[in-house]
């Protein structure tokens, strides 16, 4: 599975994450900063809830009419001289893209940041075909240099690294000899990348949104690298997930506002690039050849199911930035390039339960993610839906749990059984109780009492007290 980034077991990854104190403090402070900026930027609008509702409506409408808009998009791209390829699998997408690269005899490929190309593992496919691939987003560039370290955050891929680590990577891989001051590091990267842009044969971008009515694609960046990737090389390939589409420029306007405010707390980012097909005669910049690769890779299986709203996602990472679980375990613990709450929802859908069966349970269902999502994906509810599916459809829940839940159902729907069961709680637990607390619980209580005390059951249940009180005439 291409989006899979680790073969380690889930709890091993969690242990690694929890013990990485540097990563955790970096993530915690980044979360705090981004959350604060997001709240300020959304409150400033005054009617954020209306915006979210509008965002949700646009996404729902588009997904419910996806066939129509994809056809419209594709027709308009072709009309403007571009080529469109629908890839149903990652293999088909990679095959097509490497074929184009070979045709163009591309030696060097520059890329702007794109999650879907991470998902399909495009870089290694291109490298196998003999191309040198250069990531031009600063975060992605750092990760690529650092032996292809995978991204740990949807928007800030190198969130888990500090400036000293970046300095060392530049030093080791590119002979950098200056300090870890961010400006110096960025200047060095810029100098390196400038040459790459100028000498590239092929540019590859992702796509924040495609506009169906005009056959355009739009890219939202803060570094301007996407503009150069699309302006300098002779040919350009844009890869998009099939759901990343809006009907018209009007909806694009709204979605971009939601995206910028939710992801980094900006009203707008520094660069919003809109591109329609290859360059026209007389145009100074732009590719001579333009290809749009529309990737399914499991998405259409989500359409029409109880999980469809997961495809509303505009990859803003607002949910990631508020998630306490993500904060403590870090992005790599999810084992998927899609981390955080949306990762816990999407990864099992795209990559299957076999690899990602723990992710739906790695949430306390606190719903901070659902609250933060600008397009109102009910993330915590989707996690419960996953659990239901694992239990009832896939029948993959542990035997002991199944038994316990059956017992729970019997007891909780039969008052007499419930009453008898709870009545004995205090005496059953008495041998384990010390000063009203249980410190070493038996059996199923052990995981709890490994880290916390458990309260001793009250000597007299509420219901017994109440009965007595009623009898005594209060």
């Amino acid at each position: 599975m291409a989006m899979k980034i680790s073969d380690d077991k889930f709890f091993d990854r969690v242990e690694k994450g929890v013990n990485n104190t540097f990563m955790r403090s970096a993530v915690a402070s980044a979360q705090e900063r981004m959350q604060g900026k997001r709240l300020a930027a959304t409150e400033e609008l005054g009617n954020w809830e209306e915006w979210r509702k509008l965002g949700e409506e646009i996404r729902t409408h588009t997904l419910e009419n996806l066939d129509y808009y994809l056809e419209q998009l594709s027709e308009n791209v072709v009309k403007r001289g571009g080529h469109v390829f629908f890839a149903s699998t990652k293999e088909e997408a990679n095959e097509y893209i490497t074929k184009v690269a070979k045709e163009k005899q591309a030696k060097k490929v520059v890329k702007s940041k794109s999650m879907v190309t991470e998902e399909i593992h495009l870089n290694s496919a291109l490298e196998k075909a003999g191309c040198e691939v250069v990531e031009t987003d600063l975060g992605e560039y750092i990760l690529q240099l650092d032996d292809h370290d995978p991204p740990s955050h949807i928007v800030v891929p190198a969130l888990h690294k500090n400036k000293e680590q970046i300095r060392d990577t530049f030093k080791e891989k590119r002979g950098y000899d200056k300090s870890e001051i961010p400006e110096e590091l960025a200047l060095f990267a810029r100098e390196q990348l400038r040459q790459e842009f100028l000498s590239a044969d092929l540019g590859i971008t992702g796509c924040n949104f495609a506009v169906a009515e005009s056959g355009s694609i739009s890219l939202v960046t803060n570094e301007g690298n996407a503009g150069l990737v699309t302006a300098l090389p002779k040919a350009q390939i844009t890869v998009m997930g099939m759901e990343r589409i809006v009907p018209t420029w009007e909806e694009l306007d709204i979605m971009v506002s939601l995206l910028c405010r939710s992801s980094v707390g900006q009203k707008l980012t520094s660069y919003i690039t809109g591109l329609t097909g290859p360059k026209d005669e007389g145009d100074v910049d732009g590719p001579e050849e333009f290809h749009l690769v529309i990737v399914d890779n499991g998405r259409s299986n989500i359409l029409g199911t109880e999980f469809q709203s997961a495809l509303h996602c505009i990859r803003c990472a607002a949910c990631v930035n508020v998630c306490p679980v993500y904060r403590h375990v870090g992005g790599h613990s999810y084992g998927s390039i899609y981390a955080g709450p949306i990762g816990a929802v999407l990864s099992p859908l795209l990559g299957g339960y076999e690899d990602y069966k723990e992710l739906p349970y790695a949430s306390s269902l606190c719903a901070a993610c659902t609250d933060a999502c600008p397009v109102k994906i009910p993330l915590h509810e989707l996690l419960i839906k996953h659990r239901r599916k694992i239990v009832e459809d896939e029948k993959k829940s542990p035997f002991g749990e199944k038994l316990a839940m059956k017992g729970f159902q019997l007891a909780a729907s039969s008052p007499s059984l419930y009453k008898t069961g709870t009545k004995s709680a205090s005496s059953v637990m008495a041998p384990f109780t010390k000063e009203n607390n249980i410190q070493k619980g038996p059996g199923p209580m052990k995981p709890w009492t490994d880290v916390r005390d458990f309260p001793a059951p009250s000597k007299e249940r509420f219901r017994d007290w109440y009965k007595k009180r009623e009898k005594g005439g209060k």
Binding site: V14, E15, V18, V322, P324, V325, H328, V329, Y361, A362, S363, S364, L365, C366, A367, A368, T370, I384, H386, R387, R388, K389, I390, V391, E392, S397, E401, M405, K406, F408, Q409, A411, A412, S413, S414, P415, Y418, T422, A425, N437, Q439, P444, P447, W448, D450, V451, R452, D453, F454, P455, A456, P457, S458, E460, R461, F462, R463, W465, Y466, K467
Partner: protein
């Protein structure tokens, strides 16, 4: 006003004091309280774990139990939020769905009931203490009860409420999450305890026994001198 208590299984079995204070408080506010003794648990542990068939049976039982009640009031935001979930569970069963909606419409968390239905903001309580308040996720986010506890606590004589840093963060309870994902839950509750300590408060107040069991359990394990109180106890406190 006639009020049926939904006491919740945790309060019934582990925190019977919370139930007693809830009864006394509601009576003090002029309510006629009854306790439908057929009630059990709201079914949340099964629902959140994905056992929806099992939850339906529990939900039906709870719907029947409270069918005749005018108001259903419980001292736990998360359990009351679960009563509001029942209608989703029965989305394909119109008869039960309607019954579930009726139950949701008349169900309230304790502080929500006091402020929104009884229209009371001061319950004449007094508790001279320095405290901080833990917002429960399900109460604030799912049930939408954000202001009621603060309004009531503000009026408690002698109570000095310190703001809790990162109060929007979950304490790491999450029902079965706390035992299925111990290493993550442990970090979350530790962080919560750290934030509580930072306030310098001697009392931690909450409106949900689940969260209090988790945070309180960790506070005990670490031997911190912080007392944990349910909001019903605080609002029913009187310095004689």
């Amino acid at each position: 006003m006639k009020v049926s208590l939904f006491i919740t299984c945790l309060a019934d079995v582990f925190y019977s004091n919370v139930g007693k204070h809830t009864v006394e408080l509601l009576e003090k506010l002029g309510c006629e309280v009854d306790f439908p003794e057929q009630q059990t648990c709201c079914g949340q542990p099964a629902y959140n774990s994905g056992y929806h068939k099992e939850t339906k049976e529990v939900a039906k039982h709870m719907i029947r139990t409270f069918e005749k009640s005018d108001y259903v009031v419980g001292p736990s935001g998360s359990c009351v939020a679960m009563l509001h979930e029942y209608s989703h569970l029965f989305k394909d069963e119109p008869v039960w769905k309607e019954k579930a909606e009726k139950l949701a419409d008349k169900s309230y968390e304790l502080t929500q009931f006091i402020v929104d239905v009884l229209k009371v903001e001061s319950v004449n309580a007094s508790l001279p203490a320095c405290a901080t308040y833990h917002k429960s996720c399900h109460m604030t986010r799912l049930l939408g009860v954000k202001d009621a506890p603060g309004k009531l606590l503000e009026q408690v004589e002698g109570l000095d409420i310190k703001p809790l840093p990162n109060s929007h963060d979950c304490c790491g309870f999450g029902g079965t999450f706390s035992v299925k994902m111990v290493p993550i839950s442990e970090q979350m509750v530790d962080e919560k305890v750290r934030h509580v300590e930072e306030t310098g408060a001697e009392v931690l107040i909450g409106a949900d026994c689940g969260c209090l069991m988790n945070i309180g359990g960790r506070i005990n394990r670490k031997g911190k001198p912080i007392k944990v109180m349910h909001i019903a106890e605080v609002l029913n406190s009187e310095v004689k």
